[in-house]
Symmetry: C2
Subunit: 126 residues, 2 copies
DNA sequence: GAATGAACAGGTTGTTCATAA
DNA sequence: TTATGAACAACCTGTTCATTC
């Protein structure tokens, strides 16, 4: 009955989703924030590199972190509210610990990707 | 009537396809080769980085280069043939020139990606 | 307009099957 | 088994639409 089978990564580059999750964790360590606020920060950070993430990419990453049990949602109705709600995110009880584990993985993954790119420069532009 | 609309890249990482095309060009500069032979070479090169491209990924990249007018196919029936055919690839007349242009683009793209990864290391593990 | 969210569409990539010697 | 190729399925990502203030 339509067993959905997993697909293995062949280990090329890290995925945008993972990359954004890493940044979201680090931003949350600094201070609580809500969606589009975060996106603005990221957009500024990545502008020099010609990377402009979409809002849906960011939301997907955010949902992932909630599903991973790292963050939880906190809806806030701002005072003098002009807006219905803002959704702030912050760490769950053991979220910080889990986040550390995730970050450690990503560190290795980024190092690996840099190695691969470095090798490509050597091999193709020797 | 179902105008198929292009999707723009938001400029995250370079794609596997482009990465492989770059390697294929460089390998072809060194010597003619056929599909699975190339894959073996690539597999060896990338093994230290945990990247193992599939044969279909490589074929796709190869077809792309043919469509770009950079390479052309040359079917060869090997002497004492145990196999029906091997498909060797080599540069078209202006293929080498086009290849240089492509390589220049990829050089910039790889530099950009390295910058992005470097920034991520600084921002998240600084 | 700012903000969140979901649906949809397009493209890339990994797995599998087909064919041939 | 080696080699090429194609079909298919899963996934990722970008665009668009819906909704609320």
């Amino acid at each position: 009955m339509a067993e959905k089978q997993k697909r293995e990564s062949r280990g090329f580059m890290l995925k945008q989703r993972a990359f954004l999750k890493l940044y979201l964790i680090t931003l949350m360590e600094k201070k609580k924030a809500y969606g589009l606020q975060i996106l603005d920060t990221l957009t500024e950070t990545f502008k020099p590199f010609g990377y402009q993430p979409t809002h849906s990419a960011m939301y997907e990453a955010l949902y992932d972190l909630v599903e991973d049990g790292i963050l939880h949602r906190q809806e806030i109705v701002p005072p003098h509210d002009r807006f219905k709600k803002l959704v702030y995110y912050q760490f769950t009880d053991d979220g910080a610990d889990r986040a550390e584990i995730y970050k450690k993985q990503l560190k290795e993954e980024i190092d690996r990707c840099q190695g691969l790119l470095q090798q490509a420069l050597k091999d193709n532009f020797g």
